[in-house]
Symmetry: D2
Subunit: 253 residues, 4 copies
């Protein structure tokens, strides 16, 4: 019964746009957020992507599209990379969304979602109140939680690009964890899982100059991934579908 | 001092998209919402447009664009037409927005704005979770206030069109009114004004089959403009700038 | 990692006030919401409590009390009763809250929480803008989700009472369920659990005449528990602490 | 027509509770926020009150009390004092509320209201998740706007007190101002008004040790009233009714 009424059965389809900043933090901070057995990357071990996304999503009958309060949501999430079992993985240690269905979907997939207030500039094709997808186009984004600013970034488009970064490009390596209701330190569910979408589509990829600021707040820990140096920024449109993942190991075994 | 810090000085620039349903109501209901001296149109006197809009707006330095929490807002508004002084005018008797700066800007311009929760489907260019701007593309929109649904509509795109309707195409005829603080029935401001944007741009206009439902709620009166027959529906992108209006008459004189 | 940063470790402490309507629905509707093996009550099998609550909650160091955005939340939830293993249980099939930490705490405890917009009148001791805790004091409450009204109720206080109803008075019988990420119909967690608070305190209990209205909406199912007859209404203040529950059976075994 | 449907005709009745911090800022900053012709107080010219309030309000038939989404709101506002025409006045230069009807009521009364996210601890009488109205009871409050923290404060109750401070105790001296729609620098309404409630009631007044922090944000100017020294803090319950004010001078004359 739990959270199922909030979501139809998978597959779920997503169409949206993303603003990404990739930057370097102290690799030690990345290391502390990896699952047991995973290791830092050899190349650029402190690379982080902070990504804002504005989505429409729907179940397989696409009915939510016609009731957009149940389809649209925005999110901001951090992605780090690691090596595990000879492969390269992406991992999301921090994420905020602004709808309940997205929050529950995150728990299903291993994203540690919280609610936040997320805003991101949209490109325009008429008038002046926004950027065009052209060199010099300027975007901004913020994420707040519990009434405090957690992060903000700005982008100035540079040129069309081949890909929107290298950090969020791998299968996700996530934990799914719920403690036992006995509050005795044991877990009712403690899994290392991976998941990846299908039918991915990417369009209108642009590289950008980017600036980023992250703040410590009483409730949010994103600041542990302090930006030391910006690698680059990106705008792109993106779509994917998601049906299933794979349990890599059951931590309780 | 009043509400000025919420907004920079005009001009204000707007870029956005609109979903419109035009329908017929009882002309008597339109008549009751007209300013003194104005008359019903001879052609289609009961025509109403209910319009959902998703905007970015900014002052002349465009700084809000980079802090989208202060630039983006959504609104839903009804438009009726009338004849006054030999001219045809549009008039907005009901409107909901989801940001304070838009609410105050409305009071400045004579829009009787309230806060609401507004959602509208966005067209996509990648993936499945939304409609394309092509025949058969389906959109939905809702507006709620005080936790109740006020109106919802759906659109199925038909074909590119020349214009997005005929009801919201005229200079606005609005009242600006604040009672005196003495609560003695007198007014401190009681004006009939008109305003119109400049540098208007319209793109991607599509006609659509549309359905609409309006509900009575304890706080909202949109139901007085009950839909009796749908005229048509539209999607379009739109931009405009706004600097000033004209006081047509001072009602207190 | 999942949702833990949203909440400190138990115990959690709660202080708040409740407005309750108890009513009868078709017992068949109650039956359909019971876990396997549970049976309807013999006395008043269709009894339902719909409860609005306004809480402050905190972890054991009570630090959230000083940052009330992380302590205060409102909720509305339905409670039904059943017999299982020779005992009487309460069970919550539908619940809405307005904060993320409350939502996640619900998943931990087996409450199928969604986000909603919840409002309830508060008693006052000065002035006119509210009811006193005295005969004739009138209260109202609403719960909305996805921009639609789900339920509303009103109460007129009658007299001090011994207890705030009989439906929500038993240990909770809840399911905790998450499907496997493989989307193959299997579950990663599928438990029947029970939980109960400690250090409970009740004060200012009043009985009331009550009215209730429940609506069907595209996303909410509370209407399946259609009110056929009101049993009674209550106002009371309540506090409790919660540390742990008990797994009654692992459904996967 | 303007904003009237959001509010019934006065009188309006209010019942609520307040948390107040009184502190000293640079008197020059107070001076810059006074209307023309007004002067700083001779005693304690830099005194400021920052007040959080949690209200129920209603029109004369009290109908909103039963639909609390239209009755309840929270606000945070700054109050300064001045001398004008031989009298002492209070004046509110900055204020945030969380409902549209409160925002419009503010424009009517001369309060320069914006929307904000406001939270304040409530006293409890059962359990642990909050303070009692007793020595040592601890409260917190925050106000945020545009996703940024604007101010936060904490209070530790000391002892029952005779009055909740001296800054917000005088008739209000407010400007009501709307520029002409011509955007030519002229005003359509430019009044200096005063207003005061009636049937005021105060209860449960406590003095407190208080701490306060104010931040600069891109959209909010409260920081100009920088706290240099805390004078004191207060909790109290308060009620009042409001029907009318008086126009002191018409600035356009």
């Amino acid at each position: 019964m739990a959270a199922r009424p909030l979501l139809p059965e998978p597959p779920w389809h997503y169409s949206g746009e993303m603003l990404t900043v990739e930057y370097r933090t102290d690799p030690e901070r990345v290391s502390e957020l990896l699952p047991e057995g995973a290791a830092l990357m050899e190349d650029d071990p402190g690379a982080v992507a902070l990504i804002w996304a504005d989505w429409q999503s729907a179940g397989d009958d696409l009915s939510e599209v016609l009731d957009p309060v149940r389809s649209q949501y925005k999110e901001c999430f951090a992605v780090i990379r690691c090596r595990w079992e000879g492969e390269t993985w992406s991992r999301c240690p921090f994420i905020w969304v602004d709808k309940d269905f997205a929050m529950v979907r995150g728990y299903h997939q291993g994203y540690p979602k919280k609610l936040g207030e997320i805003w991101m500039t949209r490109p325009i094709t008429v008038g002046k109140a926004g950027p065009r997808l052209e060199p010099g186009g300027r975007f901004g984004a913020t994420v707040s939680a519990a009434g405090r600013l957690v992060a903000r970034a700005t982008w100035t488009l540079d040129a069309p690009a081949d890909s929107p970064g290298f950090v969020n490009a791998h299968p996700m390596l996530h934990n799914r964890y719920w403690p036992a209701i006995e509050s005795d330190g044991s877990a009712s569910m403690d899994e290392l899982v991976t998941m990846r979408g299908y039918d991915g589509e990417v369009a209108d990829v642009w590289s950008a100059e980017a600036e980023i600021e992250i703040r410590e707040t009483p409730s949010e820990e994103l600041y542990v991934l302090e930006p030391l140096e910006v690698i680059g920024g990106y705008y792109h449109r993106v779509a994917a579908s998601w049906k299933e993942g794979t349990t890599l190991r059951n931590e309780g075994d």
